[in-house]
Amino acid sequence: MRIRQQASKFIFAAGAILLLATPATNVFARGVELAVPADVIPPEIPEDNQLTQEKIDLGRKLYFDTRISTDGTVGCVTCHDPKHALADGRGAKTSAGVGGAMGTRNTPTVLNAAFLSTQFWDGRAATLEEQAAQPLLNPIEHGFTNTAAVEARIKELGEYAELFKAAFGSDAITLERAAKAIASFERTIISLDAPIDRFLAGEAGAISQSAKRGWELFNTKARCNTCHGHIGAFPLFTDEDYHNLGVGTQALDFAKVAREAAETVAQGKSIDELVLGDAEASELGRFIVSGLPKHLGAFKTPQLRNVALTAPYMHDGSEATLRDVIDFYDRGGNDNPYLDGGMRPLGLTEQERSDLVALLETFSSDDLERFSSLEQEKPAH
């Protein structure tokens, strides 16, 4: 693995591999440590899925392999494209899967997803492993109807047995292992070097005057920082909480939709399948996961890194540009019975709106170019 070292503030020499003192049967297991800036708390690695170069290599191949879908057109890369800041660059509000079937949600970026404590807009996956498996089994993403079908497809391809063996010690190809490998690969996709970081580190010239005014607004009048605040040790600009802003809730009869959704889930349909396939059920947000009324229409606060590169916005892609998003917040979101109590009209001037957009543009990583060769990247043995 090669993770480029950006600056001296990175404590760990990227790509360094620690050889673990392991018994002979485990010689494949070589621990990999992630490179993060010194004052950032590194992502949590699950106990049962320690990071190794072999898993990362396997995960990379799986991630880019569009053959692992029912019609052979959809891979992780389809919606999480390195050429588009690891989000969906195809221009639609939401993402399409096999056969062009449209989902209900705008694709979040994989960049820095390793730092997040839940995945998906409603947080229905606690880990990247859980996240990675769900699209494979969703009829409008990779399209497989069951685990065995996914595993059979990977076996058919005939290229994976050795890689699974190297990563997991035996050549058994399982969805669980595939998800672990993909998650391992995704954990390496980290980029925390944007103009805003240099500005916050004291480089006054790193961002424009307009962006500086935007930063002041971000933390005061525009009230962004309560949910999207910057924390040095966790600099993703998200509180990882769920809020109802009124996106997509207009004219939705929450009680009716909730009742129907509850019945559907009680009958055994997966939440993943329900919310991506049913536009109304999708709007229940976190509620479908928690069952708590306070979560009706509430979606996870997304990270803001590279936000300027991941249009359109909101869970349903309903806001086309950053300026639209600012206008949305300026009017206090859309009124609905479950609107978050922190929403209120902001009274931003034209200039202030421009300043906020200028600020958000400084959240884009400088080094995204390196991800364009992500597929070819080979371990630095």
Partner: protein, 260 residues
């Protein structure tokens, strides 16, 4: 505790001090002399040792004593003159430490006005109660019999309390009305008797602010958010009053910085 004094100001203050109490009588003479003899002499150290005199010519002094620096204790009653220290430069850590140690030591005599001098050779001379003590050792005996032995008088306490109460009352008023609010919400609505403000836990990471905050940061956050008002400058008298009220209501609590 450190106060930098320019030469001219130094003379002014020193004269005032000298006029106010007995021990620096000698120094007062010297200060007057310094004033009379022009600016270049002002940087010369006012001599407080018994042997010092206004007539002492410059050439008699060691060259390095041609300048000095004066440091006051926070009570403005104790002063130490560090000979050889430049008024324009930081003192060496060693000499600064000695100066601080002398001042802290002299704080034993709470109400007394005392002047000390640290010579180039680090010898300490202390002038107090109209007497001069040479070769003073920090922590050593000083035959001072303070009138109140460091205890503030009843009247002083009354004066101080009246001033404190005035500030707290102003904070109480601001805390309970909607003067800082645009929407009628007042601090006391969520914090009767400043409850649930826990000033004793600051500084701490404040989740709403996404950073480590002091009490005043959270006061301003509350003014902006629930009260929908305008933040106060940190040194605004109203901010000080609010802090005073909150802290007074939580008197006696154990400091638990960082507690959540």
């Amino acid at each position: 505790m450190k106060l930098e004094i320019s030469a001219a100001v130094f003379v002014g203050i020193f004269t005032t001090v000298a006029a106010g109490f007995a021990p620096a009588a000698i120094a007062a003479q010297e200060a007057v002399a310094a004033q009379e003899s022009g600016p270049q002499e002002i940087t010369g150290t006012p001599r407080i040792a018994a042997s010092a005199s206004a007539e002492m010519p410059d050439e008699v002094r060691p060259a390095t004593v041609s300048q000095s620096r004066t440091v006051w204790a926070c009570d403005k009653r104790k002063m130490v003159i560090v000979e050889g220290a430049s008024p324009d430069k930081k003192m060496s850590p060693e000499r600064a430490q000695i100066a601080a140690a002398v001042l802290m030591d002299l704080m034993r005599f709470c109400n007394e006005e005392i002047t000390a001098r640290i010579a180039i050779d680090q010898k300490i001379t202390v002038a107090a109660n109209g007497h001069v003590y040479e070769n003073y050792v920090v922590g050593g005996p000083l035959p001072i019999v303070p009138a109140s032995f460091g205890q503030p008088s009843k009247r002083e306490k009354m004066i101080w309390k009246a001033e404190l109460d005035k500030l707290i009352a102003e904070g109480d008023r601001l805390f309970h009305n909607d003067e800082l609010s645009s929407n009628g919400v007042a601090c006391a609505m969520c914090h009767p008797h400043a409850s649930n403000t826990h000033p004793e836990t600051y500084p701490k990471f404040q989740t709403q602010l996404k950073k480590v905050a002091l009490l005043r940061d959270m006061v301003n956050w509350c003014i902006i958010n629930p009260l929908e008002g305008d933040a106060l400058p940190e040194d605004d008298p109203r901010m000080k009053a609010i802090e005073a009220y909150i802290l007074s209501q939580r008197a006696g609590k154990t400091l638990e910085s960082g507690k959540h």
